[in-house]
Symmetry: C2
Subunit: 234 residues, 2 copies
């Protein structure tokens, strides 16, 4: 069994929404950790060895144990440091609902968000529409899950707050890029307030990147992609 006192490291990148998830979870649990920062556009040998199946950040290193996949890491953190505030709801049905919407965020919302930003032509339009539709569904889920409290998880940040909240930085990048509001008083009043409260939370504010910093990352990724597309195959 993993001991909660063993050293904790996170292989991640400050601009990655997925890598932000373990960090917020560790902060909620008041666990000290070290960040092993990956360079954008370049996977370290250490990362390739730590996550040979997906070759992706984040990876949690806890003593001699490696845990991959951001939401699985959040659940692991919740279970190992079980005496600190809970991240997943205690009731099985509430847990199932939180996991359902977290899976929706990863499988439907994130791909549409990505397509709306880096896609072209009709695919970009379709991505934007799907993202807006997804936000409407998530607004409804927020109303039902939060029951008038500030977070999806009630009075405290929970699993679904972390799952969705990590995308708020990039959502703002898209808003700025399209010069439009994706969260507003008319269509998503709950999520609009939630986003502000979430980003100001002590477990979040130090790890949520600024919009301008993310725009610079976005330009760098575009340059790397263009260079890769124009370089001859090896």
């Amino acid at each position: 069994m993993a001991k909660s006192s063993e050293a904790v490291k996170v292989v991640g990148a400050w601009s990655s929404p997925f890598a932000m998830r373990p960090l917020i979870a560790l902060k909620i649990k008041s666990v000290e950790y070290e960040c092993l920062e990956e360079e954008i556009g370049c996977k370290s040998e250490f990362l390739l060895k730590s996550n040979p199946v997906h070759k992706k950040i984040p990876v949690l290193i806890h003593g001699d144990k490696l845990v991959c996949e951001s939401l699985i890491i959040v659940e692991y953190i919740d279970e190992v440091w079980s005496s600190a505030p809970s991240i997943l709801p205690s009731d099985p049905y509430d847990r199932a609902i939180a996991k359902f919407w977290a899976a929706f965020v990863d499988d439907k919302f994130f791909p549409s968000m990505k397509e709306s930003y880096i896609g072209v032509g009709e695919a970009k339009k379709a991505g934007l529409k799907q993202m807006v539709d997804g936000l409407a569904l998530l607004e409804d889920a927020y109303v039902k899950c939060s029951k008038g409290k500030p977070f999806f998880g009630g009075n405290q940040i929970g699993y679904l707050d972390i799952a969705l909240g990590c995308f708020l930085g990039w959502l703002r990048v898209i808003e700025k890029s399209f010069q439009m509001k994706l969260l507003d008083e008319a269509k998503t009043p709950g999520l609009l307030n939630w986003a502000e409260t979430f980003c100001a939370h002590p477990a979040v504010k130090d790890v949520m990147p600024q919009t301008d910093q993310l725009i610079e990352v976005s330009k760098l990724i575009s340059r790397l992609r263009a260079a890769s597309a124009s370089s001859p195959p090896k």
Copy 2:
């Protein structure tokens, strides 16, 4: 909180690997259930209402509660009927590993399996290669997780056994269709034995479809797909 004594129904289809997962979990827990069988190629109004986001089977109905997404349903069953044999491992790290490979099965293995069967040309070839590579990774995972015992979950069927095992019926369909062995003594000796033990288990044998029955379903799906492709758009 959901009461374990409330009536249980599963909206599913006997030929669906995903719909098989809740049934195996309920059998492990010795929970009586009723099957609400969906017709192949036709989604009932009840299903559309029960799972409006994904419009997919399976859906678990427990009293007045609805739970969607097959692996989330299995976790829900494990948590509600917690006094019966456990499905997920008790150690947080073992749980994380089981969830990691179950996610691999759904996100990587299943899509490659589908592509190898219904894809065409190069995509079909690539799907077959990815599926074979996936089975090699799963063989390695089996050796590590089972530690010489019959199941991924040790001496009892666990989460990852259910996640992967539900595809064994369709794996046999592909083996028959391609006249090749996907599980064999040389490359996947562990999985070969595991598959036999899994399919003969009392919680599995009555819900695992016969290969010939699935081949008939496969023909029906092909006919429905062809009819849909040739009908004028509405």
